[in-house]
């Protein structure tokens, strides 16, 4: 896709600015403007144009968001689209006539590219360039990373990989460290396991502990039994020693009782009873005489008091009379005051009558003249209802006038409506066009399919390599069968395998021979064996001298020394040969072995030559065959893959044909529909443009049909409104007439009621309201007069009469002597007499009470005398005596018997208390059977035995306690369970760490592996192309880019013209930026080879470059511009001549 024209309609600082970017063979456009001229705006505008204006766009400082608008004409594959873009949620794309375009209309031009990807892949600015250069440096020597980052336009690959590796390392690594999560959890596991081991009690431990406790408890029980036996004996002997004296006392008292004989037993307190009775008799007799005398004196005083019973009985009536006198005390003066009040009210009434204009009359006549309440209420109602009736009348008449105006307006609207109809042909054409569906989308889809098929065909063709033949030729090729090729390849593989095997074997043999030669030489050097030849040679030399001596050629004297030396040498050699016989043999064996190896090597060379000849012959045969087929130079090994590639090409070609025919069919249908629709629209006198897109025609036709329908509905609605308006007017007129009638009726009723109320018939509403108020005031004053008379004056007069009546009654009954005196004086005297009578009554009551008390005390004293006499009588009877003295003797005997008996019982009780539960008989028997005198010795013996047993027990009792403590430690505790829980906790942590480790470690490894593979596949083409660009950019300072295969990881280096290599770290910042630029451009070119082209936006790329370098940069971009549109934004005017020169004047320069 390319942009043919960019319209900055309302965007940023631009208004209606259009920038033409016409197509050229080298599609390069230079947009020049000083800083702030809007270059950044332009770059943003292209993004917003293609992908929508951003929600919070900051380019609204001149045109508000709602008015922002961009436009363009874009081209792709011979098609063009003119559109504009607005800022909204949906339907932001419009056609030139302002009709909305489908949201996905750009998909055919942009493919699946999104905003982020476009900006990343097709946008490059100075900052990105510098950042990219820095990232190259930080990626250090990792070529894979550099290539990937440059191609993807991202710089975070290293960070991603480092983060993954760091996380994996924090989780687990071979070296144990408490910082690693897995090992930290593993330490927790070890602690928990130790705790578990510590807390676990095995069943056998418990059984052993229980057995120990049982055995020790048995021993302790035996010892306790023995102790108990000793204790029993000791207790028995001590008991005997204790009770012996008590038993003796018991027998003594028994004897004394027998001597006292028979005794009458009297109560223990008999003596006291007798003495007390005698004292009481004396005291009670004296009291009785005193109280009898006091009773006589009180009775004499009572006889002298006389009570007035009638006066006392009338006390309530006298009090009532006194209270009534208090009530009526002021009544007479009050009656005078109330009469004066009545006079006041009447004067007020006379005043009101005069206002009404009525004559002054007495009270009765005035009451009859006042209008009654119903009449006054009727007049008040008439006054209240008048305003409502008057308003209703006026409103009804106004409503009739309003309705007339409304009907007039409706008539005008109806007259003003246009008459519209739509032809049936337009309707049918519209239906037919709609039935085609979303033609644009289908067309885009088919276009996309076609483009895809073509790309696939293109890609498939690359598989054919140099044998890229015409389709027809490809189709008709007669290729050998795959079986035949397989056989040939099998043969070739066999030859190659044999050659390899034989060569390896030969190399091994050569190596063995070299080793053997060396071995022989070294052996010889080490052992100096004497061979037969050497010995023969030395002997030969000796024999020559001898022959010379024998023949006389040399005088003996002269030759002797030499001869002796030679003899010695030969003998020495012979001896040495004899001594080194084994080494000689060994050396011979080594030399034989060497010969064998050399022989084998010779054989092997012949086999290699033979195999080579056969292979060559086969290759020649295949080359001839390939020529014949029409594939000269086709290697046999490539034939299989080529066959498949040919199949793919044929397949892809068929797909292209299919896609083209489908697209043609669709285009034909769409064109037909467009023609029919366009004709129908023309028939409707609609303004149509034959060049409109089908979608726009459909929208226009829809508008026409819908417009006509809307007009019809509007007219029908207005007609309805007119009919209902006329009906409503008649109803309103009826209402107005009714209101007028109601007002008339009111006026008649008004006159009648006013006259009845004694007022002038022509009085208006205000006057009548005033009269009604005066009526109310008069009525209120008359009411007050009547109230005073009835409730106040008359009541007080009745009270005074009642008081007089009651005073008379009491005078007659209680004080006839007072008759003739005033009621007030009578009441006062009777009250005084009542007070005196009540004082007498009180004294009489006091004396009566005292009399009763003295009488009771006298009776009590007499009772006590009788009781004391009766108290002594039972003792006299029991002791069979008749006098108090005889009784005293009997009492003394009884007391002596009691003392003896008590002493006996006490001794018996003491014996029983000390008997440990034994009976007296048993104690006696025990005493009889024991030698009391021997007890101390026996006790001493038992004490010693007991101490021994006790010591034994003490010694034993500690053991079971300890054993029990041990056993009781096993009491169902949960420490082991808790430790196991902790262990599981640690295991869970280890599992979590391990799971995460597997993920991140694998991810890190995969990333390394993939980046390595990426390098392998891309470094060839990408580095070659990037090297060319880099060389240009650096003005030949660097010749190409090379890989240092010796370093690990592989490093990227630039090669100078003199062959010198420079690593990335050794490059200047500027050179690194150029390297990044070269890599980006190379990656983009590779990308464009397999996908849709889009405009490349270069924003002020060469700001730090000198002219020569900037020119080199433009050259690099000119090559890119042959593949896709390049829009170069710059604020450097001086780049314009450079560009003109690079592009030979054929460059579009736009000044902002």
């Amino acid at each position: 896709m390319r942009i043919a024209r960019l319209d900055l309609l309302r965007y940023g600082m631009f208004t209606d600015r259009s920038i033409a970017l016409p197509h050229r063979s080298v599609d390069f456009h230079m947009i020049v403007g000083p800083n702030e001229a809007g270059k950044s705006t332009l770059r943003s505008a292209i993004l917003d144009l293609l992908f929508g204006i951003e929600t919070r766009s900051t380019y609204n400082f001149l045109h508000p968001h709602s008015e922002m608008r961009l436009g363009a004409k874009i081209e792709h594959d011979g098609k063009a689209l003119e559109f504009s873009r607005t800022k909204a949620r949906t339907r932001t794309l419009l056609n030139p006539s302002g009709a909305p375009l489908p949201d996905n209309v750009l998909a055919a031009f942009l493919g699946s590219t999104d905003r982020k990807f476009f900006d990343q892949m097709f946008g490059l600015d100075h900052e990105k360039l510098v950042a990219g250069g820095n990232e190259i440096l930080s990626a250090s020597n990792d070529i894979g990373q550099i290539l990937f980052q440059s191609a993807a336009g991202i710089g975070s690959l290293g960070e991603v990989r480092d983060a993954l590796e760091a996380e994996a390392d924090g989780l687990w690594a071979r070296r144990k460290s408490a910082d690693r999560l897995y090992y930290a959890a593993s330490d927790e596991l070890a602690i928990a396991e130790a705790a578990l081991k510590q807390a676990t009690v095995r069943t056998k431990d418990w059984v052993a502990a229980r057995d120990v406790v049982a055995r020790l408890e048995e021993q302790l029980e035996d010892s306790r039994k023995q102790y108990r036996g000793l204790e029993e004996t000791r207790i028995r002997l001590e008991r005997v020693r204790r009770v012996a004296p008590i038993l003796n006392t018991l027998r003594e008292k028994e004897r004394e009782l027998a001597e006292l004989g028979e005794v009458t037993v009297l109560p223990p307190d008999a003596e006291k009873q007798l003495t007390d009775a005698e004292i009481e008799l004396a005291k009670a007799g004296q009291e009785y005489a005193l109280f009898a005398e006091q009773v006589g004196a009180i009775q004499d005083q009572l006889i002298n008091i006389k009570l007035d019973e009638q006066l006392l009985n009338s006390e309530a009536d006298i009090q009532a009379l006194t209270e009534r006198r208090q009530q009526v005390r002021n009544h007479e003066s009050d009656i005078v005051k109330r009469k004066l009040e009545i006079d006041g009210h009447w004067q007020n009434v006379e005043l009101l009558i005069r206002q009404l204009g009525w004559p002054t009359e007495d009270e009765v006549r005035l009451r009859s003249r006042l209008p009654d309440v119903p009449l006054r209420a009727a007049i008040a109602n008439l006054i209240k209802g008048h305003s409502a009736l008057a308003l209703a009348h006026a409103t009804a008449e106004q409503a009739v006038r309003d309705k007339d105006i409304e009907l007039q307006s409706i008539d005008e609207q109806i007259r003003g409506l246009p008459v519209t109809t739509v032809s049936a042909s337009l309707r049918s054409a519209l239906a037919a066009a709609r039935a085609l569906g979303d033609v644009d989308a289908m067309e885009r889809q088919l276009n996309s399919q076609l483009a895809s098929a073509r790309r696939k065909l293109k890609v498939a063709r690359t598989g054919l390599g140099q044998w890229d033949l015409e389709l027809q030729v490809l189709q008709n090729l007669e290729l050998p069968s795959s079986q035949e090729i397989d056989e040939l390849r099998q043969r070739q593989t066999t030859y190659e395998a044999s050659a390899t095997t034989l060569s390896e074997r030969a190399a091994e043999l050569r190596s063995s021979i070299r080793d053997q030669v060396l071995d022989v030489a070294q052996y010889r050097e080490a052992h100096h064996p004497v061979t037969w030849a050497e010995l023969t040679e030395v002997r030969g030399t000796r024999d020559i001298v001898w022959q010379s001596i024998k023949s006389g050629a040399t005088p003996l004297a002269n030759a002797a020394p030499d001869y002796e030396a030679k003899v010695q040498a030969a003998d020495g050699m012979s001896d040495k040969r004899h001594d080194k016989a084994q080494e000689v043999s060994e050396l011979q064996a080594k030399q034989d072995s060497l010969q064998r190896l050399q022989q084998q090597a010779c054989d092997l060379e012949q086999r290699i030559a033979k195999n080579g000849a056969e292979q060559l012959s086969m290759q020649v045969e295949w080359a001839a065959r390939a020529d014949k087929i029409g594939l000269p130079g086709m290697p046999l090994l490539a034939m299989g893959a080529w066959r498949e590639a040919r199949e793919s090409v044929l397949h892809a070609a068929a797909a292209v044909v299919d896609a083209e025919s489908a697209l043609d069919e669709l285009t034909r249908k769409a064109t037909d529909a467009k023609l029919v629709l366009s004709a129908a629209l023309a028939g409707e006198a609609s303004e149509t443009d034959a060049t409109e897109m089908l979608e726009a025609l459909i929208i226009a036709a829809s508008d026409a049909v819908e417009g006509a329908a809307k007009m019809k509905v509007r007219r029908e609605e207005l007609d309805k409104q007119r009919v209902s308006g006329i009906t409503a007017r008649a109803t309103l007129e009826d209402k107005a007439a009714a209101a007028a009638r109601a007002l008339k009726a009111w006026e008649t009723s008004w006159r009648e009621n006013v006259v009845r109320a004694g007022l002038d018939a022509e009085s208006d509403i205000g006057m009548v309201e005033g009269a009604l108020s005066l009526f109310a005031s008069i009525e209120k004053a008359l009411g007050a007069i009547q109230e005073l008379r009835k409730t106040r004056i008359e009541t007080m007069q009745r009270d005074l009469q009642d008081f007089e009546k009651e005073a008379t009654v009491l005078t007659n009954l209680l004080a006839p002597d007072l008759k003739g005196q005033s009621s007030t004086e009578v009441e006062s005297e009777i009250a005084r007499r009542l007070v005196l009578a009540k004082a007498d009554q009180k004294e009489w009551e006091r004396l009566s009470k005292e009399l009763l008390s003295k009488q009771a005390k006298a009776a009590d004293a007499l009772g006590r005398v009788n009781a004391a006499t009766a108290g002594i009588q039972p003792l006299l009877t029991l002791s069979k005596t008749s006098t108090n003295d005889a009784l005293r003797v009997a009492i003394a005997r009884s007391d002596q018997w009691r003392a003896l008996n008590e002493a006996f019982s006490s001794a018996k009780r003491t014996a029983q208390d000390s008997a440990d539960g034994l009976t007296l008989e048993a104690l006696d028997a025990e005493l009889q059977s024991t030698d009391v005198s021997g007890i101390p010795v026996t006790l001493s013996d038992i004490g010693r035995q007991r101490d021994e047993t006790l010591a034994q027990q003490n010694a034993l009792s500690a053991d079971p306690a300890n054993a029990n403590t041990e056993l009781s430690k096993i009491a169902g505790q949960d420490e082991a369970a808790r430790a196991e829980s902790g262990r599981q906790d640690a295991l869970a942590k280890m599992a979590n760490a391990a799971e995460r480790f597997i993920k991140v470690f694998t991810a890190a490894r995969l990333l390394r592996w993939a980046i390595d593979r990426y390098r392998e596949t891309k470094q060839g083409p990408m580095l070659t192309r990037a090297g060319e660009i880099f060389s240009g950019l650096t003005l030949g300072s660097f010749q190409k880019l090379v890989v240092d295969f010796e370093s690990e990881p592989l490093a990227l280096e630039g090669q100078r013209a003199d062959g010198k290599l420079v690593g990335i770290a050794g490059m200047s910042d500027g050179t690194r930026d150029q390297l990044y630029f070269a890599l980006r451009i190379a990656a983009l070119e590779l990308h464009l080879a397999q996908s849709q082209s889009l405009p490349f936006i270069a924003d002020d790329l060469f700001i730090n470059y000198d002219d020569a370098r900037a020119r080199a940069g433009l050259v690099a971009l000119s090559e890119l511009a042959q593949k896709t549109q390049v829009i170069f934004l710059t604020h450097h005017d001086h780049l314009v001549p450079a560009a003109q020169s690079v592009f030979a004047g054929n460059v579009n320069v736009v000044n902002l």
Partner: protein, 419 residues
Amino acid sequence: MKFIHTADIHLDSPLTGLASYGDAPAEMLRTATRDAFTNLVNEAIEEEVDFMVIAGDLYDGTWKDYNTGYFFCREMGRLNKADIPVYLLFGNHDAESEMTKKLSLPPNVHTFATREPSTFRIERLKVALHGRSFKEAATTENLALKYPERVAGCLNIGVLHTALEGNAQHAPYAPCSLAELSAKGYDYWALGHVHEHSILQKAPCWVVFPGNLQGRHIRETGPRGAVLVTADETGILSVERLFVDVLRWHHVIVDVSSAQTLADVVQLAGKALERLVSENLEGKPMSARVTVMGRTIAHGDLFSMEVHLRAEILGQAAAVGIHKLWVEKVRVETTPAADPNDIKARADAIADLQALLEEAPKDELLLRNLAEELQQLVGKAPFELMDAVQDFKSIRAGDVVQIVKTVSPSLIAHLVKAS
């Protein structure tokens, strides 16, 4: 009459898979199986049941601590005091445990013999209980066949530890069929061994697995406990569940398809946990596994920030259910929003990388090296991790293809995000 039927108590068996962290109610749950059993005994005493039946697997077979047995005796002592007899049958785990033979049980506990089926009669209630304990763990004969005939005039209860016919989740011990059980003419079969509660058959012959008393790992989710059976001499009247567990396991699956960022995912997970807590009317502590799934843009972030995600979700859990909610694990099972074809359509370096990674499962050398490196971890790990970490088995077998296939799309999503 009322009785409790329980089984598979596994006293002092630990809860597995729970890694403690700051707010996790760890200490509270260290003795979960014990606490559940104590709850059951409390229920028995409060409900005044007439007797209790334990259908096997009181202990964990390999558990050695005698204190566990002692604890059991102590709880039985409480039932003894309340005059509640217990009929105890030993299962495969008990047969394996060395405690079983040595423990002196209180007089109210009656154990079924191992040599042949035995019958206990409760004359007062007219109940006959038939059962046979496991002598050894691997008992694969059909024990039910030799159970005695029903006792006329009694409520007949068969007590049996069995996997029934082929329960795949459990070892196939003492196999038998429902038809064979029905044929005995008993009123109620009190079964044990299968940890899931189920009523396989109702009147006239009830066949019931009460389920285990306390869920111990994520495969044992939902409420756990025993059953309370009401009956008279004519048969069973009702079977109700008694939930006595002290911690309940839940698997919370959160669809995060709508999430754009990790924060969105955390918020969705938080809401799901809040819902879980609000539905937990009993207020019991809970352990939840949170699995996030769905096709989401956040997939790349979730992969790279899984640890952060876990921390955030733990925070959410603490906020909605402090001291009551334990997050067992956070599993990320999302898929990338961009499908491989979308990535391929970019035709850029990322697309190239994706194509390369698709080939990774075929690269023998890569797989061998990766397997060898991962085996360093697996080789030294405790045996128990083999079950806990899914990938360990395949790594041990030298097979890492699946791991590579799973990780590759996540890696790509992560790189797309990073770019």
